[in-house]
Amino acid sequence: MIWVTWRQHRAQAIAMLALLALFGIYGIAIGLWMRSAFNADGLPACLARSGGTDCGPAIASFFSRFSRGASVPLNVLPLIIPGFLGAVVGAPLLGAELERGTWQLAWSQTVPRGRWLAAKLGLVIGGLVVFGAAISAILTWARGPLDEVSIRLQPPPFSYEGIQLPCSLLCAFGLALLAGLLLRNTIAAMVVGYIAWEFPFLAATLLTGPFQFMETTVRIPCTGAACTAASTNSTPPVTGHLGDFVTSVTRSGNELIVTYLPAGRFWPLQFVVGGMYLAIAVAAIGTAVWLLHRRTT
């Protein structure tokens, strides 16, 4: 079964390894460039001295280098990759077998269907998780200096650091797998799987709404200009702590009412969003396994 799975997914595996290599080269180049710029802007010394509160101009200068040009793929590509690759790998696993009638060949050899499916799912899911984790590791390392002074809780990089990437890949994989079983057509299953994946992806990326339960509200005393100039996107944030994700600031007399996600909630929130992706993946794969079992018994 290992050879069979490898042979059937060989082209995908090679394409993904090539993609991983490209990301590796790109990530190392960006990472090294970022590190030299970080030092050139004097940020390590400034951060050590003030914890970030006095480093506004230096941070702004550092940001401006990485907001466009060569670093754009860093923010854009990881948003497309999980849905696209998950759908491309998941759709044919059952869809192509049903579309071409080869399921009759695959399930009439001396390997029971259950074992056939378990072996395929195990190996392919394992490959996807390793791939997702590797891409995530490369990007997280490359963005290291940027993450020290920016908000990791914002969609990029939140959607590809931590455990998001492998979970999101599996979500798209599971949805496309199920679509392949239902539609019996590989291309249609890829499209449907990708579109279905957009829903949890958009929920996790665009809407801060779902995560309001993790927000905290504080009242911060202010005086004069600090009161009038306060905004959600100042650097460092009005909370005075680098990495806090401020979602609203309102003024009440000599106080600012600030609602924000503390930087320390990065990991809890990663598990919430990753768990949502995984729950969808498990539900979709479980449904596919159950339908397949029911179809033939």
Binding site: Q8, L105, T110, V111, P112, T296
Partner: protein
């Protein structure tokens, strides 16, 4: 794998398969001894593919049980799967695989895989192992699929329309290979086909399906002995003829009837003036049963509990 001769190679006991509301196969009971070559005949949608898929374990019966050498196919274990080789209709193969890849697939998934047989057959047929499946002609693809079924070395070989895409010479060669395998290793073969002349050469057992119902099942010699063609005066009603009338053709002077009846009764009846009888041919017998509306037959001899009405409705094969 050796099996006792007393255990039937294939045994169906009241097998039925329902697709949604429609029965694709119903009330199917027969028992085929090991080493038989079984012809499975029926119009499109008769349930032939359903019966084969149930035998392999690709489908599970809605009711009843189908067993291969005593083990129910529905179990779908490595042990039951090892007993049946299956060549599906349209001989599916992985188009992007080379022939060698297909054989490695077979070797990886079947403990009994016979690499020597597979490669020797490709050499004889002149099909290069390194060629991709999609670059082969339809006939060559059929040969690769058939070779995979043979190389699995299962004691039962189930073939669904195996010769449909072969040229006449390849058909003859294929039939010869199947007969040789059957004679050498005691292989039991079940072949669904529309080509009755070819089945006549191959088969010593016959199953006729129509409308999802079993019309006829038995050893060919036995069936031929139990049927006869009677020529009788034109006005003779069916009731005056021995046995069951399967098919009837009336001409100006007399009628020709194909009857299922005891040979002694037929001989006795044929001694009347103006009556004559002759043995029935294989093709004649099959065509008579195919021509017969399945509903009628179900009502006459196979109906159990007034379910004849469902037999005539459209079914999937």
């Amino acid at each position: 794998m050796t099996h006792s001769r007393s255990v039937p190679a294939l045994a169906a006991d009241g097998v039925g398969k329902r697709y949604g509301h429609v029965w694709g196969l119903r009330d199917c009971t027969f028992s085929v001894p090991a080493g038989s070559v079984v012809g499975l005949v029926g119009p499109n949608g008769a349930g032939k593919t359903t019966l084969l898929a149930l035998t392999v374990g690709l489908l599970a019966p809605t009711e009843g049980e189908i067993s291969v050498f005593g083990s129910p196919s529905r179990a779908n274990t490595a042990d039951t799967l090892a007993r049946v080789s299956y060549l599906a209709q349209d001989h599916p193969l992985y188009r992007g695989f080379t022939v060698a890849d297909m054989f490695r697939f077979g070797r990886s998934l079947n403990p009994g895989w016979d690499s020597g047989l597979a490669e020797a057959r490709m050499a004889t047929l002149g099909i290069p192992l390194r060629r991709k499946v999609k670059a082969l002609s339809g006939g060559q693809q059929a040969q690769v699929a058939l070779t995979m079924a043979l190389a699995k070395r299962a004691p039962v070989l189930a073939l669904d329309e195996p010769v449909a895409s072969l040229d006449p010479l390849a058909r003859l060669d294929f039939m010869r290979d199947v007969l040789a395998a059957s004679a050498e290793t005691g292989l039991t073969v079940i072949i669904a086909s529309h080509v009755i002349a070819e089945l006549e050469r191959l088969c010593d057992w016959l199953i006729v399906l129509a409308g999802g119902r079993l019309q006829l099942a038995g050893a060919v010699d036995d069936l031929l002995a139990r049927h006869a063609v009677l020529t009788v005066p034109r006005r003779t009603p069916d009731g005056d003829v021995p046995g069951t009338t399967i098919d009837r053709a009336d001409s100006e002077r007399h009628s020709t009837l194909l009857v299922a009846a005891d040979p002694d009764l037929v001989a006795a009846a044929a001694s009347q003036p103006g009556w004559a009888h002759e043995p029935v041919g294989f093709e004649q017998l099959v065509l008579a049963y195919l021509r017969r509306p399945p509903v009628t037959l179900a009502a006459v001899s196979l109906n159990q509990g007034g379910r004849a009405g469902t037999a005539g409705t459209a079914v999937r094969s």
